[in-house]
């Protein structure tokens, strides 16, 4: 597969996943606000940190009001992680490879983009319906891809992008939520706490599964479930297990060891998540741990780039074909 095509599929997938995550986080916040409007005041500010950076926000806005934050996270073109911006990036990447992806997939992402643009110009905005629309389109697009993409490189670059992006989003969400929720008071398990922590699970569609496994929301169990569960599709460990599987499908190398650097960094992260205990994470410090995980995900992404997308062939035109094939 062409390097450029692989790269575009990878980024198409990442931006699509990022868009959906932003929508989830926003939708949960809307619901939370409806339930807790009398008890909570500044619930919106943490979202800026989860999705983008505070620095960028304050460059364009003076105060973190709900209206400003929503505008910043949905339609603001100054924010490269606003819904409109990530969706546009997903669509542009899909456009680059539109001859390689299923036609329906291109049409759905194109329609979604046009609909979102249209919505941004509406006078009165029903945001919850808007978020629903994007979520539905996301499942529609994923549905087409998972049912019609051949399970070859196309699929695995798509999946690799999706899982790495999702892993990154999960760590961001946990980091800010734990920071804000545990920082204020210690967890006492009161009414507001329960709603707040349930909302964290909601953000990753994890409420029902969590409840069946652990019952009442408690920070340590939530962290354990969302970081280390091996079967839940929106747990960090599952994302890395699945990303690793796709990576080895792409390279064709045995899953039990590594040949390329990217396989080594991925395997190392996988091993850590497989065997670490949640108590160890808390004694190390959740924030520090997540920080380290994010660095490792970042390294993996850089390795993916140098291994598959940016092989330097142009610089050595004197190499014969067989030699070029060996160096990769």
């Amino acid at each position: 597969m062409l390097s450029r095509v692989a790269e575009s599929i990878f980024w198409f997938s990442r931006y699509l996943e990022r868009t959906e995550n932003t929508v989830r986080f926003l939708a949960v916040q809307f619901n939370l606000e409806i339930e807790l409007s009398s008890q909570m005041s500044d619930q919106w500010a943490p979202l800026i940190k989860t999705i983008c950076s505070e620095e960028l926000f304050y460059k364009h806005y003076s105060s973190p009001t709900k209206e400003n934050i929503i505008q910043f996270l949905t339609f603001d073109e100054n924010n490269p992680n606003s819904i409109l911006a990530t969706l546009n990036a997903a669509r542009e990447n899909a456009r680059i490879v539109r001859e390689r992806i299923p036609q329906d997939c291109w049409q759905y992402i194109n329609k979604l983009y046009l609909d979102v643009q249209q919505f941004s110009t509406n006078q009165s905005k029903d945001y919850l319906a808007f978020f629903d629309m994007i979520k539905q389109s996301y499942y529609q697009i994923s549905g087409v891809l998972y049912n019609t993409l051949p399970y070859s490189e196309e699929f695995h670059f798509f999946n690799l992008g999706k899982q790495l992006e999702r892993a990154n989003q999960i760590t961001r969400l946990l980091d800010t939520k734990f920071y804000y929720l545990l920082d204020k008071d210690s967890f006492v398990g009161n009414h507001i706490d329960l709603i707040q922590w349930t909302a964290v699970l909601h953000s990753l569609s994890a409420v029902e599964v969590y409840r069946r496994t652990f019952g009442t929301p408690e920070p340590a169990n939530i962290a354990s479930f969302l970081l280390l569960d091996s079967q839940f599709p929106r747990s960090l460990r599952y994302c890395i297990i699945d990303a690793q599987a796709s990576l080895h499908k792409i390279t064709g190398n045995d899953l039990r060891s590594f040949v390329k650097q990217v396989e080594k960094t991925m395997g190392r992260l996988r091993a850590n998540l497989d065997y670490i205990e949640i108590d160890e994470i808390f004694s190390f410090g959740l924030h520090n741990y997540i920080d380290r995980i994010q660095q490792r995900i970042n390294t993996i992404c850089n390795n993916v780039k140098s291994t598959f997308f940016e092989q330097d062939l142009q610089a050595k035109p004197e190499l014969s074909v067989s030699k070029v094939a060996l160096t990769t």
Partner: protein, 484 residues
């Protein structure tokens, strides 16, 4: 009762649907009876459905220097219909023409017999910007130069078809022909069955077969080389790559190793056999042509010259695309094929020739003046529709650069009923059929009918407010070739 059609005014010139005694032509009879029953509201709805579908499918072209970056190329809901016998005439005329043009290209880059035999003056050829001296002595695979040609044809007020120009430099528009057909089939499914419209669906497959023929390989690696997503025809490039089962490539995706073209993949490199390139000749290879080109691939031309890669079309075909050389196509047909031309040219004045230039300057108000390398409706003067300032500017340019211009009598091309301003109006149309030359010459039964949507306008280009129509070629009998 006044129907939509009873208000149809078409007396400007030859009308495709109505004859001079206000009766529908036989070709259009069935369609006429169909559209007769429709109200303006019906057609308006069809029109909106079509627009919406184009937008959702992302069938758009990019406009340079415009705020609204992506635009749809409007598709008129009323088709242009051509009957079987007229089409046969066009088809045989085009086959003859492409055959002769390929002979000319092969000759002009090798023995140059046509110059030595005093058919075309050497200076005309060597002064053409499409003539690439780098191609002298090159033998492209299977001696094919113009694999894809889109000739522009018009019908004059006398009812005759004329060739207006031949586009041999990567003509665009074929994806619109194919997608227009898909949308029209969704809009009017029953009409296709009733009228027995010939299918255009095979075009991408035939194009693939050209690649297979050139490389003697059914499973070769074929690519469509595009300048990238910001090119106005990107949609078409990606459409054709998908339909042909070819890779869509940019110059950066390729690397030339040992004079062979390879694409960079996730696992190394893979050799490319044939490239359908949608990049202009002089941008193909910065080491041979424009050194600033970022679109091409260093070493590509050498690989082509050594016969290690097929390029569709071959570099250098632009010389036959030159509007001055165009005037010699009938002579080429007589010279190479010893046949009389089936499709005539329009009478053309060469500004290069002193006498003819004087005629052009004296009569410029009546004439159409074109730059010999112009395309897209730019650098074009329609005398009767231009103001004095523009005319003076063209006069000045003609005197300064006589080689750069030709002139033709202003011919009013035929009109076709078109849905504009919520009613059916007569609008000028041309026709661009697509001709493929692989093992044999194949003319796809259809083409892109472009329509000048502005009242009275003769400019049909998409960049100048033109639209398109689906072109329906009727089968000989009602039994064969059902569209499916």
């Amino acid at each position: 009762m006044t129907t939509l059609l009873s208000k149809y005014k078409y007396d400007l010139t030859y009308d495709e649907m109505m004859d001079s005694s206000a009766n529908p032509r036989e070709t259009y009879l069935e369609y006429y009876n169909f559209i007769k029953q429709l109200s303006a509201k019906d057609i308006q709805e069809h029109h909106e459905f079509i627009d919406q579908t184009l937008l959702l499918l992302g069938i758009t072209f990019n406009v340079y220097n415009s705020k609204q970056k992506e635009r749809i190329f409007p598709l008129d809901p009323i088709p242009r219909i051509i009957n079987h016998s007229e089409w046969s005439h066009i088809e045989s005329g085009l086959k003859q023409r492409i055959h002769a043009l390929n002979c000319f290209l092969s000759d002009v880059y090798s023995d140059q017999r046509i110059i030595k035999d005093n058919i075309i003056p050497r200076e005309f050829i060597e002064s053409s910007s499409g003539f690439l001296k780098e191609c002298m002595g090159v033998k492209p695979l299977k001696d094919r130069w113009c694999h894809i040609t889109g000739s522009d044809i018009i019908r004059g007020s006398d009812g005759q078809y004329y060739v207006l120009e031949d586009n041999l430099r990567c003509p665009s528009g074929v994806s619109y022909m194919l997608e227009n057909r898909e949308i029209m089939k969704r809009t009017y499914p029953e009409l296709f069955k009733q009228l027995n419209v010939k299918s255009v669906r095979n075009y991408p497959l035939l194009l693939r077969q050209v690649c297979e023929f050139l490389s003697d390989s059914k499973q070769g690696n074929f690519g469509v080389l595009t300048p990238g997503i910001y090119n106005s025809a990107y949609f078409e490039h990606s459409f054709l790559a998908r339909e042909m089962g070819a890779e869509l490539l940019m110059g950066d995706d390729l690397v030339v190793i040992n004079d062979e073209v390879h694409m960079k993949t996730t696992t190394g490199t893979e050799r490319i056999d044939v490239l359908y390139r949608r990049i202009d000749d002089t941008f193909l290879d910065p080491t041979v042509f424009n050194p600033d080109s970022l679109l091409g691939t260093p070493g590509l031309f050498n690989a082509f010259r050594k016969g290690n890669v097929g390029l569709i079309n071959a570099p250098g075909t632009g010389v036959a695309d030159d509007k001055l050389i165009y005037t010699f196509v009938p002579d080429m047909i007589r010279y190479y094929l010893s046949e009389d031309p089936i499709l005539p040219n329009l009478d053309t004045y060469l500004c290069y020739d002193d006498k003819q230039r004087q005629y052009v300057l004296d009569n410029i108000e009546k004439l159409v003046v074109k730059a010999v390398n112009g395309a897209g409706g730019y650098d074009l003067l329609i005398g009767p529709q231009s103001d004095q300032k523009t005319i003076d500017l063209f006069k000045k340019n003609i005197v300064k650069h006589p080689r750069k211009y030709i002139a033709q009598e202003t011919i009013t091309f035929s009109t076709s009923p078109s849905f504009v301003d919520k009613q059916i109006n007569a609008r000028h149309v041309d026709l661009r059929p697509f001709i493929l030359y692989g093992e044999n010459i194949e003319v796809t039964p259809g083409g892109l009918t472009r329509v000048a949507l502005k009242d009275g306008s003769l400019v049909v280009n998409s960049s100048q407010g033109g639209g398109s129509k689906d072109t329906w070629i009727l089968s000989e009998t009602n039994q064969s070739n059902k569209e499916n």
